[in-house]
């Protein structure tokens, strides 16, 4: 038994990606037999993927970086040709996010999508999205990253347009595919620049030999711009509310994960691939030397602040529930970007060593940002599930035509309240801990940032109070007379997320020590990531 487990742990990086991929193509065949069987099968596949992801994450958190060479069990012979999966703390952390959301989504879909046709393809695409996300976060190869990025975007776009008779869905899908294909093409262009210079596609090898030449600067600009667009950082965020509101809610939950996976790409590029090179001094102004890291950090902080402000302001104005949550999701992404920007701007070389270090508050900002990623996935995910539940019950997403739902949908109301408090950062739910860390650390960078961030967080609360007031409170509307509580499968999936939110909220210390801390260490020590492939220091 133990040997079997060891064997599974050894092969878990491949299995985490292979199982949903195999499941995706088995789904249509199973679906020909029976619809219920197919639903069970898909839930089983996602749970199995989740199991392997937990195995892998547990292994990585205890034993350090894992590399997995495809097609060859011997050590790396030729890093140019071989394809690697390299799983460090950050990848494992992201893999956990990337498996929670599909599990919830497929359980939710059982009832939510019950009456639709073409469900075989729907489940196939959901599993493909899962594959793409997991591949993006686990791979150690640049080109592989691009391929998984495209798999994710194609599957996502097809799912956004699942309701092909709705104008809103189809136009959102078209915008999404245009945006993501252009973004991915520029990522590929940057990868080609790397290949041309260093004859390598492996992130660790590139990071080892990168020289921060002029071409590398261009590649950095391309990568950051493209991945930031995929991660919806303002002013390139406009596709996100469209896409999130156009897709069926069960799909949107997974799209939240893909957006975060793109943000992971930004993290990986900045911290691991470029890392040390960002300290190149660009210009000397008196005593103060301007490095790339400061310029880039300040730029990202500015963009992030704009993202937060635009997100909450637009959310306050919009009257469509899903579009509103979309804008709030934009704002939440802004918080993470704020943390990343602050962390990068504190890069410096420690005295006496050659290693790049962040100041203590920079590291803390990174902790907050990474912790906020999983919190954001849970909160926004739960909000979209609630939006989907309301849509299921009333066939309505416009808040103007909703009212008095709390009288009919007790459980949904409770879940909405949990998500509301969590997303706006009220204690004792998970949003509070991560936002507190972010506020504290960015206070050291600039106090104004903290003020803006806290004010916007309060506005997020205001946004959802508006939803709570107009959709859940108020008199029973005659037009919504036949509303009933949603079926069990939807309640279960909302319950899973709510449970995780409360768990993460009550025990932030435990979560940070065991899950977030390895991820932060992985990002702040790019040397270990590089040496796992290249060898030596």
């Amino acid at each position: 038994m133990n040997e079997m487990l060891d064997y599974l742990v050894l092969n878990s990086p491949a299995l985490v990606v292979a199982i949903p991929l195999l499941g995706a193509f088995l789904t249509p065949l199973v679906g020909m037999i029976n619809g219920k069987l197919r639903n069970l099968f898909v839930i089983f596949i996602t749970l199995l993927t989740g199991f392997f992801a937990v195995l892998l994450a547990n292994d990585v958190f205890t034993n350090g970086i894992r590399t997995y060479v495809f097609g060859n069990s011997s050590p790396m012979t030729n890093p140019v040709v071989r394809i690697f999966f390299e799983v460090d703390g950050m990848s494992a952390f992201m893999a956990l996010i990337a498996v929670i959301l599909p599990i919830v989504a497929v359980i939710y879909s059982w009832a939510f999508m019950e009456k639709e046709t073409g469900l075989n393809k729907y489940y196939t695409l959901i599993l493909l999205m899962t594959t793409g996300m997991l591949g993006m976060v686990l791979t150690g190869d640049m080109f592989n990253f691009f391929v998984f990025l495209e798999i994710t975007s194609i599957a996502t776009a097809a799912l956004v347009a699942f309701w092909t008779n709705k104008k809103n869905s189809v136009q959102a899908a078209f915008k999404y595919i245009v945006i993501s294909s252009i973004g991915a093409l520029f990522v590929l262009f940057a990868i080609a620049i790397f290949y041309g210079q260093y004859n390598a596609l492996n992130m660790a090898v590139i990071a080892n030999s990168i020289s921060y030449s002029f071409l590398d600067k261009i590649a950095l600009g391309l990568l950051i711009a493209a991945l930031a667009m995929k991660a919806a950082i303002a002013p390139m965020h406009m596709w996100l509310p469209d896409t999130y509101s156009g897709a069926p809610s069960s799909v949107t939950v997974v799209i939240v994960g893909t957006t975060l996976a793109s943000l992971y790409g930004v993290f990986r590029i900045l911290f691991t691939v470029y890392g040390r090179q960002l300290l190149t001094i660009m210009r000397q102004i008196g005593e103060f030397s301007v490095t790339s890291s400061i310029v880039l950090g300040v730029f990202i902080v500015i963009l992030a602040t704009i993202t937060i402000v635009i997100g909450v302001f637009m959310a306050l104005k919009s009257n469509d529930f899903k579009r509103m949550i979309g804008y709030v999701a934009v704002a939440e992404i802004g918080y993470m970007a704020l943390a990343v920007g602050s962390a990068i701007s504190t890069f410096h070389i420690a005295d006496g060593t050659a290693a790049v270090q962040m100041t203590s508050y920079g590291e803390m900002a990174l902790t907050g940002g990474i912790f906020h990623m999983i919190n954001d996935a849970l909160d926004i995910g739960l909000l979209f599930l609630v939006a989907g539940a309301i849509y299921y019950a009333t066939k309505e997403t416009s808040l103007n035509r909703l009212g008095g739902l709390s009288r009919k949908m007790k459980y949904t109301t409770v879940f909405f309240l949990i998500a509301l408090f969590a997303a706006s950062g009220l204690p004792p739910l998970n949003g509070f801990a991560s936002k507190l860390i972010i506020y504290q650390s960015i206070y050291q960078v600039n106090p104004i940032l903290t003020i803006v961030a806290i004010l916007c967080s309060i506005m997020i609360l205001a946004v959802f109070v508006k939803v709570f007031h107009s959709a859940f409170l108020g008199p029973k509307l005659p037009s919504l007379k036949n509303v009933k509580e949603v079926p069990k499968s939807m309640l279960i999936s909302m319950g899973i997320l709510a449970f995780l939110i409360i768990l993460f909220g009550l025990f932030p210390e435990y979560i940070i020590n065991n899950i977030v801390e390895p991820a932060v260490n992985a990002l702040s020590n790019p040397g270990s990531y590089i040496s796992a492939i290249v060898g030596g220091a």
């Binding site: 292979a18 193509f25 088995l26 065949l29 997995y68 060859n72």
Partner: protein
């Protein structure tokens, strides 16, 4: 989309086998010469698309259902991933080329340097090429078929 004239139908019927054979040749020699699953599959699928245009989407839809194509597509993908997983089950790693140097099927080791091509080499790669080829034929043809079926049935027939 309705069919075209009799001349077009006849010519495309004659050309179709040749196109298919050429595509299959490209798939089968994927591990020796430029080509492989996708390229050959695309050629075969374009042959199918030619038939589709000549005979019209309604006729083609009667002959072959999109549902059957998606079965083939799934089968291709499953064979591909299954072969990769078999590498895992024989005690090695994912995507392990376990047939290579096995001597039985596709198991010969090619001579290093400039030689005459030996098709009985390369291990699992030809199998994966065939799987990809199957998937691409079914997938591309399904795309074209569904798109053609979704278009107006006659010229000038709006929506």
């Amino acid at each position: 989309m309705s069919g075209m004239s009799k001349i077009v139908k006849t010519i495309s019927s004659i050309a179709f086998p040749f196109v298919t054979i050429y595509g299959l040749y490209i798939i089968a020699h994927g591990h020796l010469t430029p080509g492989g699953g996708f390229q050959g599959g695309a050629i075969v699928a374009s042959g199918c698309a030619m038939i589709l245009i000549a005979y019209g989407s309604v006729w083609t839809m009667k002959k072959i259902k999109e549902k059957h194509l998606s079965v083939f597509e799934s089968a291709g993908a499953i064979v591909f991933i299954g072969t990769a997983l078999l590498g895992l089950s024989v005690g090695a790693v994912f995507f392990k080329n376990f047939l290579y140097d096995g001597g039985i099927i596709f198991g010969k080791i090619p001579v290093v340097g400039s030689t005459i091509a030996n098709i009985n080499t390369a291990g699992v790669i030809p199998i994966m090429n065939f799987a990809v080829g199957l998937k691409v034929i079914a997938g591309l043809f399904a795309i074209v078929l569904v798109m053609a079926y979704g278009l107006p049935k006659k010229e000038g027939d709006k929506k």
